[in-house]
């Protein structure tokens, strides 16, 4: 304990660090059924952001706004549902039990004699960061300033062949602003219900109640 558990304020952590465990958004082309990862306005071998929206490089189909938002919403919901599946994991490395059973003493491990502490495998922090990651993908300012978490690293099989220059990213961000705002509204719908975002003042100041 002590200095090892000292954590920086969450709001000061850079996105790349914060989203390191977040999973990518996978989209399917409605026309040719090609699957690819969407990482905002970036270079990709599978899609381009063009003036009229998102285009599949394989078949040149341009997604309608609904064809993107609906897939985004489904992806968010499968994350929330996985979170609510309530998988727990024991923090004792020699035990590591993974289960959906909860003891009436929540944190107690159910394996015989194990003194480890049980935690949600998919934590609410991870879910919250996952939603913020989806939000960042459709954030025009972050796109313009190229602050997004990169999808590929040099050496990856799918590392983009061509690259996008800074000025075209700026122009494309403006041109797709409406589309991006619509997608952001879908993410915001769930962020607005995410209890992690709100501090429960009632419970913090409970000691002051008579």
């Amino acid at each position: 304990n002590g200095i090892d558990t000292l954590q920086p304020l969450e709001t000061t952590v850079a996105d790349i660090e914060r989203f390191k465990d977040s999973s990518a958004l996978e989209l399917t082309c409605p026309n040719c059924a090609n699957k690819f990862l969407f990482g905002g306005i970036i270079a990709s071998n599978f899609y381009t952001m063009c003036y009229n929206g998102l285009q599949c490089k394989n078949c040149e189909h341009i997604f309608s706004p609904l064809q993107i938002t609906s897939q985004l919403e489904r992806c968010i919901r499968s994350h929330i549902s996985l979170y609510y599946a309530g998988w727990l994991v024991c923090d004792d490395k020699t035990c590591g039990t993974v289960t959906r059973q909860i003891s009436v003493f929540g944190k107690r491990c159910l394996s015989d004699g194990c003194t480890g502490v049980m935690r949600y495998k998919y934590s609410d922090k991870k879910l919250y960061n996952q939603l913020l990651y989806f939000d960042s993908l459709f954030d025009c300012e972050k796109n313009k300033n190229q602050l997004l978490k990169p999808l590929y690293h040099s050496g990856d099989i799918d590392y983009p062949i061509s690259s996008l220059n800074e000025s075209s990213i700026k122009v494309l961000s403006e041109q797709n602003r409406d589309l991006f705002e619509t997608n952001r509204s879908v993410v915001q719908k769930y962020l607005s219900d995410c209890a992690r975002r709100y501090v429960d003042l009632g419970s913090i100041f409970e000691f002051m109640r008579e």
Binding site: L27, T28, C29, P30, A33, F63, S64, P65, L66, Q67, I68, T69, S70, Q71, E73, R74, R77, S78, I80, S81, L82, Y83, Y84, A85, G86, L88, T97, V98, T99, R100, Q101, I102, S103, V104, F105, G106, K107, R108, L110, S111, M118, R119, Y120, D124, L127, Y128, T182, S185, V186, K189, Y190, S192, D193, C194, A195, R196, Y198
Partner: protein
């Protein structure tokens, strides 16, 4: 009451969840004690060795936390509460009991002994008492009907999905609305979600078509509802009361956990004859109490059964009895999950699954899924993907209306309830003496008729 469902989601607290699971066991102790006239000394800790026979109340769990899949009578254990056995779990030996139906999450009362310290030998499973039925006074009933004792009330119940899995075709729904207005003419319609199912394969493949007859194409799933589905539902005659109950698979809600907050009627852009209720919800139509829950307990409850008299009975009857007995609409724990195998690599034990959907239980709030004031509803409606049915179980009408449209696009079903008015003089109500004077059991099961009709 409805305000309690308005909690924010996505912040589960393990200690709060455990508190609820502990309370659940403890709340049944006084019920068992009173019903069987036992004293506190008759109860013991089943997890420790003892020579004498004791009574124990606990939760049925698998005997290993990592057990997945099907259980059998040799792989069950009993979890004690913090007070009764410091939360320890003990394997059950059920060889001496001939007939039973048990499931994970069930609260049970057992009689038996733990001689060796290794297992609890069960000699008897005590059946839990059914909760009481609601009652009304003479004045209540007279006020409700105001002399109109000849009017049969007609209630329609439907359950989503309302579109096939292969298209977003709403012809069936439009047809149905037309039939409701011109020929069925019910007093009320109870519609269960999902209205737009986020697990619909068309959404996963991005294959949403353009909608004809819509000026500006919808940009989000919420807009698909307000621009395409709401206009159809709004055609329902404004004199008919419509109740909407959400599903955790509904795209129209940000509250994706059970218990689930109601839809927001204004956001959905629906007229005033629509009412949005929480999931689960208990409400009254005239004197009758309706208990409605939209998580598929009939599909998710995996029983471990033994004995011919139990096994040969109708499974829906057994599950309905479990729900009534346990006094909550979804007594299964952990809740069901649906996953899809996406790849199994060369070594056979390494399988990778993709999570699709589940019961999505918010455990700390499951108290909201218990029967309101410990009364059984007169009519209990729990939609299921399984075959539609209507049965009378322990004097409760249990209905699964079936899905409105099958995934393949084949016509599904809806349920039509006709209830004769409550009449004190016709002998169909049972008079009960209570401390507050004479009251009447509603006996809805004697006065109702349920038809399951193809849409």
């Amino acid at each position: 009451e409805p305000k309690k469902y308005r909690f924010r989601t996505m912040r589960q607290n393990l200690v709060e969840s455990a508190d609820y699971l502990d309370d659940q066991i403890e709340s049944f102790v006084p019920i068992v004690q009173e019903h069987y006239q036992l004293s506190k000394d008759d109860f013991g800790d089943p997890t420790i060795q003892s020579q004498s026979e004791i009574y124990a109340v606990g939760r049925i769990v698998p005997d290993s936390p990592t057990t997945e899949g099907f259980l059998n009578p040799e792989s069950l254990a009993l979890e004690t509460s913090r007070i009764s056995g410091i939360g320890r779990r003990i394997s059950l030996n059920l060889t001496e009991v001939n007939d039973f139906s048990l499931f994970c999450g069930q609260i049970v009362a057992l009689k038996g002994k733990n001689v060796s310290g290794d297992y609890f030998l069960v000699t008897e499973i005590l059946s839990l008492p059914y909760p009481n039925s609601p009652v009304s006074t003479t004045e209540d009933i007279q006020k409700l009907y105001n002399g109109k004792t000849d009017r049969t009330s007609k209630i329609i119940v439907t359950s989503g999905p309302y579109t096939p899995a292969t298209s977003f075709d709403l012809t069936y729904l439009a047809e149905f609305v037309d039939k409701v207005n011109t020929s069925i003419k019910p007093h009320a319609i109870v519609m269960f979600g999902p209205f737009i199912d986020v697990t619909n394969p068309l959404i996963a493949s991005g294959n949403l078509p353009n909608f004809p007859n819509v000026k500006v194409q919808p940009k989000t799933l919420d807009e698909v509802f307000s621009k395409v589905i709401a206009p159809i539902l709004s055609q329902i005659n404004s004199k008919i009361q419509v109740v909407l109950i959400p599903s955790t698979r509904d795209a129209l809600t940000k509250h994706a956990a059970y218990p689930q907050d109601s839809f927001n009627r204004n956001i959905l852009q629906l007229p005033k004859n629509f009412k949005c209720f929480a999931n689960p919800a208990t409400f009254q139509i005239n004197e009758s109490f309706f208990g409605c829950s939209n998580v598929d307990v009939f599909k998710d409850m995996k029983e471990v059964t033994k004995g011919g008299t139990i096994t040969l009975r109708n499974r829906f009857d057994r599950i309905s009895e479990h729900v009534l007995n346990q006094r909550r609409f979804y007594p299964v724990f952990p809740g069901g999950i649906k996953k899809k195998l996406i790849s199994s690599s060369d070594s056979k034990d390494k399988k990778i699954y993709e999570h699709l959907s589940g019961a999505d239980l918010e455990v700390a709030y499951l108290g909201l899924t218990e029967f309101v004031s410990s009364f059984t509803p007169d009519v209990m409606i729990i939609p299921s993907e399984l075959q539609q049915f209507a049965r009378v179980i322990q004097n409760v009408i249990v209905i699964n209306p079936g899905v409105f449209v099958k995934a393949t696009g084949v016509r599904g079903s809806y349920a039509q309830l006709s209830i004769l008015p409550a009449n004190i003089d016709d002998g169909k109500l049972t008079k009960v003496e209570s401390p507050d004077g004479e009251v009447y059991l509603h006996n809805v099961w004697k006065r109702a008729r349920v038809d399951l009709i193809t849409i």
